[in-house]
């Protein structure tokens, strides 16, 4: 019979990884303890057909939970803050999902989690040789979206000032789904123009943006030249990047920049980051920072894990002191990859929509 775990494991130093199962058990004690848990989870626990403190003994048991993220569209966000923080809860902000699958979902981000997240990002950038103390430009969503805050935090931790070009992803999605190609194009040109002002006048060492924006920047030879001259690292996320595009960016367009990918999501309060040191013909693998964030890649019909190397749907868990969002079946598809040494759950590669071809027969007309 395991003893009640010490809650201190939830506060392990940033450079340490706790024992995954011990960590999960401690988190259950915290989130479902009557004095420490959030009003949301304490209320929700009553309708669960299991007792998280008794039955969830490790990462694998997170699958017992229902997917509650749909409830985040309406729940009062103050109810999401664990009471155990007391009056000391340091709130970074309230953030929302992009609203791709309906009304936005809301989470509350606490300082201790953002610090842990940005510590990991900064350590990765050290690993890539991206210098500290250089300034950043983020062409990325801000406002209700967490990514802006995450990148700002990473820039600050890495010693940089951050310049921002704001992107409203919901508006872009609306334009695209309405078939308003010209308006979409004009909006993206507007973003590129704003970025160009910063790139021309400021000493930018790190650029953060999305793959489509990188492609748009690459239409302009003068901006390619500016970025090549100034920027040491490009951090990308928020959209799929295929292996050929990644290779072209690395070898032809921005050969003097380190490319660093993130696969982010509001429902994990951050992102999984690119495994460093892989060759150009290896897939871009994203490792979540376990056991805080864990993935599994499953068959969308059976819910069972797909074999390694096969494509499936991504299930995400976020378990930190600040937040609990277990067993969330995301819309993303990815290839299941074994985790790195010491990791738990799955890593993912080639995240994105199913490869589709449109070679349907054109019946009428002869072309």
């Amino acid at each position: 019979m395991p003893t009640t775990p010490s809650l201190s494991v939830l506060d392990v130093p940033f450079d340490e990884r706790p024992d995954p199962d011990e960590y999960i058990r401690a988190a259950m004690e915290w989130h479902f303890g009557p004095d420490t848990g959030s009003p949301f989870w304490l209320r929700r626990a009553a309708s669960l057909d299991f007792d998280p403190r008794r039955d969830v003994k490790g990462v694998a048991d997170l699958a017992l939970f229902p997917n509650v993220t749909g409830e985040l569209r309406e729940v009062p966000v103050r109810d999401l803050i664990p009471q155990g923080y007391g009056a000391d809860a340091r709130i970074v902000g309230v953030f929302e999902s992009g609203g791709t699958t309906g009304a936005p979902k809301r989470i509350v981000c606490l300082r201790d989690w953002l610090d842990r997240l940005t510590y990991g990002l900064s350590a990765d950038l050290d690993g890539l040789g991206i210098p500290r103390g250089v300034d950043w430009l983020a062409i990325a969503p801000s406002g209700p979206h967490m990514v802006g805050e995450m990148v700002a935090g990473a820039a600050a931790r890495h010693g940089g000032l951050m310049f921002r070009v704001d992107m409203d992803p919901r508006w872009v999605k609306k334009l695209i789904s309405a078939g308003k190609t010209e308006e979409t194009d004009a909006y993206v040109s507007h973003l590129v123009e704003q970025a160009a002002y910063v790139l021309r006048t400021q000493d930018i060492g790190v650029l953060m943006t999305t793959p489509p924006l990188l492609e748009r920047l690459a239409r302009h030879d003068d901006l390619i030249e500016l970025i090549g001259r100034k920027v040491k690292g490009i951090m990308w996320g928020g959209a799929h990047m295929d292996a050929d595009t990644r290779d072209l960016l690395r070898t032809e367009v921005f050969p003097d920049c380190e490319l660093y990918g993130t696969y982010g999501n509001t429902m994990i309060l951050g992102g999984a980051t690119e495994r460093l040191g892989l060759g150009p013909d290896e897939p871009c693998v994203f490792d979540p920072r376990t056991p805080f964030v864990t993935f599994s890649v499953v068959d969308p019909v059976s819910g069972e894990p797909v074999p390694y190397g096969e494509r499936g749907q991504v299930v995400m868990n976020h378990v930190s002191k600040s937040c609990l969002l277990p067993n969330n079946l995301e819309r993303d598809l990815a290839i299941r990859i074994p985790p790195p040494e010491g990791g738990v759950g799955d890593s993912v590669a080639d995240v994105g929509p199913v490869a589709m071809f449109d070679d349907e027969v054109v019946i009428e007309g002869v072309y």
Binding site: E215, D244, D281, E364, V366, Y367
Partner: protein, 464 residues
Amino acid sequence: MSQPATALDALDTLDALGPKGPYRSRHRLTVSDVTGAPMAELSLVPRLFVTRALAALRAAGTPPLEERLAALKRAGELFATGTVAGMTAAGYESAVCRMSGTPLANVRIAVEAIRLSATEAFRSVQAARPVGAVGDWRDPYARTGSAVWIRRGDVFAVHAAGNHPAVHALWLEALALGYRVAVRPSRREPLTPYRLVSALREAGFGPDQVVLLPTDHDAAGEILRGADLSMVYGGQEVIDRYAADPAVLPNGPGRSKILITADRDWRDHLDVVVDSVARHGGTACVNATAVLVEGDPAPVAEALAERLAALPSLPPHDEKAVLPVHPLEVARGFERHLRTKAAGARAWLGGDGVVDDLGDGSAALRPAVFQLDDPRDARLGVELSFPCVWVAPWTPTAGVAALRDSLVVTAITGDEALLDALLAEPSIKNLYIGDHPTHWIAPGIPHDAYLGEFLMRTKAVIRG
């Protein structure tokens, strides 16, 4: 008939041909023959590759006219007879007919059309030059003031079709005019443009003069965006989409037609009608889609059906093959579509279906002849990519209206007022008078106006 040798051995990867040379992507499409057997792996380039390639074309210069023409001529000969990218001409012909289901004889016609277009490129494009324009400011006429014929841009993109290899003859004119050209091949039949671009490069065109950019749908639009002018092939929806875009020349359904008035005996012209319907396996926009007859159309339909019924169903690589071949399921799709469209029409041929299963996963599409009662029936414009023809009565009251929206009208009539009206009708693109098949074509004769009319403009020049 034995299976042709493994003609694609040396070419089982079809690389993109970019501005720095061949490019093999990780994202590839398996291209199969009509029986479903894989033939080649086609490299599909990402959007960023397209952006970069078109920028390279834009940055490149244009070689002098004489160099271009000489290289075109060499490329045409090489394409038609040489070994290009490791593939012999015979190997190519065999491979492309298995891949596309185009009968071997038609492939040979296409090869000759491409060779001729390359060889005669200068004569062809000069035919389009306005009589008031000269080709260069150094021309003596420019001293006292003249128009000079200039390009409307530098980079020309082609979204090619896969219905017939001969579609690749036309864009060679753009190279002759000094355009840098980007071709997006059809993914059903990328082999012809691959061979042609390879031949152009072997003949002296730099990789920054002509590129082959196979893409999936996502990156296809980037080719149009990055080019100054483009030509696209497609169905009616393509025509509609680009109708208002002055930078895009859409090539849509041909809906070519034959009109026989009562002053002519249709029996004297049956050969031309049959040939118009069936040549090229019925897969070209210049094939007759409809035959309009003044008087009773039934005997014409009956005779046409009898002649077309005699065409043999054969694998495409058979020397005697004349009908297009498709994977069985694709062929059945055509058949279902035809059945829906033909409901209520009088079937003279093909009423029981048009799919002839060749037993190897592929099927020949057999000819169809249907009779309609009204020259205003919209089905006269239903164009399918096999010999399929709608026969209907025509009256002077129905007039030119019944022949609108045609790439070619062959008018077998002695009525000069009617011929005047047909010539004046803007939606009839070409008018052949008398005993000429709708697919007649010759160097220097416009297909759907001269391509040069789209690619070029005039500029006033005077010098001292």
